[in-house]
């Protein structure tokens, strides 16, 4: 058994138990779910282009930003009927935000798939001051809110869409370094 609080990442595979399929991705380079062909998913792609028009009428929907895509997704899921399967691919931060939108719309286990994130830029919430720090690729980050150097714990909150960041008092860091040298 895997014990982890991370999102359940796995390669995307078209789920034949669904009757409609929607695939959202934060860049066009993300491949389609495996098994497309038996059924064709609707595809929404972030193109990061302010001239993009959402309704091209050609199947694929192009969105100007991840935020634009997520807003559109929230509206769509609020009206969606039973039978939809949602697939998401992209960066860790995008996937975290998709999960929040899907959970809020009442999608559950077996209705959403998350591809393994294609980057390691995670969201980190400061446990001391609640500030959300975006795009953290390293193991530490200086908190935008309280200035603490946060160490990123491997503990993820799906509700917050973020990893936990906890500071270490300077004296403690020095003592641990000293112990490591002498040990």
């Amino acid at each position: 058994m895997i014990v982890s609080s991370q999102l359940p990442f796995a390669p995307l595979v078209l789920d034949a138990s669904g009757v409609r399929h929607l695939y959202v991705r934060d860049e066009a380079a993300c491949p389609l779910p495996e098994g497309c062909g038996a059924a064709t998913p609707e595809v929404w792609t972030v193109v990061s282009d302010a001239t993009a028009m959402a309704d091209t009428g050609e199947g694929e929907v192009l969105l100007r930003s991840a935020t634009a895509l997520l807003e559109r997704l929230a509206g769509r899921l609020a009206r969606e009927r039973v039978g939809l399967r949602l697939y998401a691919a992209g960066g860790a931060s995008f996937l975290a935000r998709v999960a929040i939108v899907a959970d809020a719309a009442g999608l559950g286990t077996g209705e959403v798939q998350f591809a393994p994130p294609r980057d390691v830029a995670r969201r980190v919430v400061c446990v001391h001051c609640d500030t959300l720090n975006e795009g953290v690729a390293a193991d530490t980050v200086r908190c935008l809110g309280c200035g603490t150097t946060l160490f990123v714990r491997e503990h993820y909150s799906r509700g917050l869409g973020a990893y936990m960041g906890v500071g270490e008092p300077e004296i403690l860091l020095q003592a641990m370094e000293a112990a490591a040298r002498h040990g």
Partner: protein, 359 residues
């Protein structure tokens, strides 16, 4: 149990907490054997047990007033220590009923409850509260029902919704925790909130524990002991305030070890709640300094052996690495290596005096 009726004690600097002989002898020492390994070690929470702290549904001791005052202060500083999701409303009332009926039944000198249909009258003589309310009508209490009652009890409480064959932490009041955060873990499943515990997952201990808890029945609560160590008698060892208390771990010396280092024991009890089908997890924290543990021969020897032979991964997870050896070195001269009886019960009626009293 004698309960002090005013808060003379302080769980933050300048620390001022003392344990009477009675409190020492009723302490739920967590090691039944000389070796410790993580396990679910669950048993029925019946009204008997090897030490007095385990013999009531919810244990009230001499620190009651001071702990409730500290809890109120923490909630004032950080309201996110109490969060209950809207779908747990029935569980809130279940908690009120369980707490009020058992406390008034088991401590009639301190608490009383009069019920006439849904008209309830609650008296808490220790905190000087008196409240008439309509059971089930939150508008008749000064605070939301769970918060109202949890503020009047020692220890932490979490509420767990059962769905998809898992238990989801969908509410709680957490002010005396061993380095975990309610606001962060809120909404997590049993497996998710245990994710940081090393080794236990590979041992399958969580799968077995979860399967057991999913079938927990009303009126058949269970309990287990868990432990860690804390520097200073500090209830609030939260990640939220780690920058405030974390440095204490580097403050232990051979001179202050007996007074600074505390064994922190959680008497964890779990209840199926009947109205909501939720599970209540009660985490009652006891802090006992090494100086007081020294006063029970069996406990000082066993603590020495457990800490000396502790799995390094567990030592690290519990944050003991900086001072564990100091404690072991301090205890070693007091352990003659003689075999000790199994179980946690003390080997004497009264505490002995091994060390000179603290300066």
């Amino acid at each position: 149990m004698t309960v002090q009726t005013s808060a003379r004690e302080s769980y933050r600097p300048p620390y001022q907490v003392t344990n009477s002989a009675e409190t020492i002898m009723r302490f739920p020492f967590p090691f039944p054997e000389d070796i410790y390994m993580y396990s679910m070690n669950v048993e029925p929470h019946i009204r008997s047990g090897p030490v007095a702290a385990m013999r009531n549904t919810f244990d009230i001791d001499e620190h009651y007033v001071a702990e409730c005052a500290e809890k109120a202060r923490i909630l004032q500083e950080d309201p996110k220590r109490c969060i209950v999701l809207p779908h747990m409303r029935e569980a809130e009332w279940d908690f009120v009923e369980l707490a009020m009926t058992t406390l008034s039944d088991q401590y009639p000198q301190h608490f009383s409850l009069r019920r006439e249909g849904l008209d309830w009258h609650w008296v808490n003589r220790l905190l000087g509260y008196e409240q008439s309310f309509v059971f089930g009508d939150a508008g008749t209490l000064p605070l939301p029902p769970f918060e109202y009652m949890a503020r009047q009890m020692q220890g932490d409480f979490t509420l767990h919704d059962q769905r998809e064959d898992d238990l989801w932490m969908d509410g709680g009041m957490v002010t005396a925790q061993a380095d975990w955060s309610l606001k962060f873990d809120l909404g997590m499943s049993f497996r998710q909130w245990h994710a940081p515990v090393p080794k236990a997952a590979e041992m399958g201990v969580f799968d077995r524990g979860l399967r057991f808890l999913l079938m927990l029945q009303h009126e058949k609560p269970v309990r287990r002991l868990n432990w860690t160590m804390t520097i200073n008698p500090r209830l609030d060892t939260s990640p939220e305030n780690f920058m405030v208390w974390g440095a204490d771990r580097a403050s232990v010396t051979p001179e202050n070890v007996a007074d600074k280092v505390h064994l922190r024991v959680e008497l964890q009890t779990l209840y199926r709640l009947p109205r909501s089908n939720a599970i209540l997890f009660s985490i009652r924290c006891y802090l006992m300094p090494v100086r007081d543990i020294m006063r029970v021969g069996k406990w000082r020897k066993r603590l020495h052996r457990v800490l000396r032979d502790l799995d390094p991964a567990l030592s690290s997870y519990k944050g003991l690495d900086l001072y564990r050896q100091t404690v072991v070195d301090f205890l070693a001269p007091y352990d003659d290596g003689a075999p000790l009886s199994n179980g946690i019960q003390p080997d004497a009626e009264q505490p002995e005096n091994v060390l000179a009293p603290a300066a």
